[in-house]
């Protein structure tokens, strides 16, 4: 973990409520896709934990969905604003376990960390299948970006306005060779994906209301089959066999 100042370079709207933010700064503490940053906002006491979409040695891409006052404030910031950021938080996805036929499953804003993950998998010679789910076509984003990487991409929308009608689980079932999932999205999606028999194993990224974001306050602890885990420090990625779903309501 590192605490440093980042500069907001650019904001690009992706949908009516989702934005892409490019920040420049010291990214040396970031070690794996699926990690997150915790951003201090003027006038808010708690920082805002935001998943890392992608990063290079000098900049950081975040995808932010406006869900409340804090995220609204974040996307309203003017380019040039300096932000106090804790970077490189959480465990991140472990690509080494994913085998030759991984599928990356994302729902809504949960798509964000899968982009940096897919890019690194491709760099390492694995072509991941990417399955993304949205409510409707107007909510979809980052499809061109995933296609440009060279992923095998499939999309599902709940109303059928884009791709398969239904959920991301349908996309996974349509790729029966994929046996390992790396997933991020809303709880019902994660749970449905977790239950698919074709998946021998997988990694699931969880959200939590956090106090500190670096493991000190025990605000986000959940029970797992491997004992109590802090979503911020021991997660946000939990492994298929250790998740106790009753914990998450």
């Amino acid at each position: 973990m590192k605490k440093s100042l980042f500069t907001l370079e650019r904001i690009r709207p992706l949908t009516a409520d989702t934005y892409e933010l490019l920040l420049s700064g010291d990214t040396s503490a970031i070690t794996a896709p699926g990690q997150f940053v915790n951003i201090e906002l003027p006038g808010k006491f708690l920082r805002r934990p935001i998943s890392i979409c992608d990063w290079s040695s000098a900049d950081l891409t975040l995808l932010v969905k406006v869900v409340g006052g804090g995220t609204q404030e974040l996307v309203d910031l003017a380019p040039g604003t300096k932000l106090d950021v804790l970077s490189g938080l959480g465990n991140g996805f472990d690509r080494s376990l994913a085998g030759a036929h991984p599928i990356l499953a994302g729902g809504g804003i949960g798509v964000a960390p899968l982009y940096g993950l897919a890019r690194r998998m491709l760099q390492a010679g694995t072509v991941p299948t990417v399955a993304l789910g949205f409510r409707m076509a107007a909510d979809a984003f980052y499809l061109e970006e995933f296609e440009a990487l060279g992923c095998r991409l499939s999309v599902a929308t709940e109303d059928g306005s884009l791709g398969t009608r239904g959920f991301v689980t349908s996309c996974i079932q349509a790729a029966p060779a994929c046996d390992y999932v790396l997933a991020c999205g809303p709880l019902p999606m994660l749970k449905a994906v977790h239950g698919l028999p074709q998946l021998r194993d997988g990694q699931f990224s969880f959200e939590a209301r956090m106090g500190c974001g670096f493991g000190a306050c025990m605000g986000c602890t959940v029970p797992t089959k491997n004992g109590y885990k802090r979503v911020c420090k021991d997660g946000p990625i939990l492994y298929k066999e250790e998740i106790i779903w009753d914990t998450f309501s």
Binding site: M1, A208, G211, C212, A216, G219, C220, T221, T247, F248
Partner: protein
């Protein structure tokens, strides 16, 4: 910068508060803990506790609510695993925050710490429900607070500081009861009971319904209570509540604190205590204070 708490010498008055600093591990990755006066470890009970269901955290203007529910591995595991690790991370005196749900549990937990050399002070959190008295909070009743104090003092070989809850009508009355029962010092305040409700779900944000408010919002409340308690008792006070700068710490000392705990500020800025420690000497110089302990009670004239 040295201060003394019931005979325990600290190199400076800055102490990370219990529940915001774990057992030191996370912060030791960021800075050398030896710059601190002490630290108060996570509230530890007899049995291991998972704590409350999620969510446990909510934000509010100027602070946060938490209902962690005393999640801790239990006193035996702490002595076996955390104490040897703390010895590697920090070489000063440690404050052991101890919880309990019965008078017997408090006493037993404190007795077990008698032989832990690095623990210099016992900080007894009496903001816990008494399971033998219908869940009534020990710290809300002067008789119960005195009973816990007496029971702990009967077995403890280290100075005992009672950590007081602010959720009472007259905190000075509780302070006098603890002092009268033999407490060596007091620590105040714990968090203020609060609540947030989600507009869409119409349910409390925190699964436990209520949570403890901490952060800058509680600072003036804590300051006033330290002031009142300083007037009421003659034992040392650790001031705690909303401190986030060297200036806040000095203000807390002027109200009557001999040392100062820093809590929620650590969660927002993991370097908060380090920054305060670094800023204190220049602040003292600016204020014309030759020794920091001169500040204690300096506003009472």
């Amino acid at each position: 910068m040295t201060v003394s708490l019931a005979g325990v010498e600290l190199k400076n008055p800055i102490i990370p508060a219990s529940g915001t600093f774990g057992y030191g591990r996370e912060y030791a990755e960021l800075y050398d803990l030896d710059i601190l006066g002490s630290f108060s470890w996570k509230g530890t009970t007899g049995a291991p506790r998972l704590g409350n269901p999620q969510p446990r955290i909510a934000e509010t203007a100027g602070g946060m609510l938490n209902a962690v529910g005393l999640q801790n591995p239990g006193i035996d595991a702490v002595i076996e695993t955390e104490v040897p690790n703390i010895a590697k991370l920090f070489h000063g005196p440690v404050i052991a925050n101890v919880g309990g749900f019965s008078i017997e549990e408090y006493a037993e937990n404190c007795r077990k710490l008698n032989d832990v050399d690095q623990v210099a002070i016992l900080e007894v959190n009496i903001s816990c429900p008494n399971v033998h008295a219908g869940g009534k909070n020990f710290g809300c009743d002067p008789k119960a607070a005195a009973e816990v104090t007496r029971a702990v003092k009967a077995v403890a070989k280290k100075p005992v500081f009672m950590k007081l809850t602010p959720n009472v009508t007259d905190i000075a009355e509780i302070a006098r009861a603890c002092a009268g029962a033999g407490a060596d010092g007091l620590c105040l305040i714990n968090t203020l009971l609060g609540m947030r409700i989600d507009l869409r779900s119409r349910k409390p944000v925190i699964a436990n319904r209520t949570g403890g408010l901490s952060g800058p919002a509680v600072f003036p409340v804590a300051l006033r209570m330290v002031w009142d308690v300083y007037e009421a008792v003659d034992i040392p006070i650790i001031g705690c509540g909303g401190v986030s700068s060297a200036e806040d710490a000095a203000e807390m000392m002027l109200a009557g604190a001999a040392a100062v705990e820093v809590g929620a500020a650590n969660l927002k800025d993991p370097y908060a205590c380090k920054t305060i420690v670094e800023n204190l000497p220049a602040l003292c110089e600016k204020l014309g204070v030759a020794h920091i302990s001169e500040l204690t009670g300096g506003a009472h004239q």
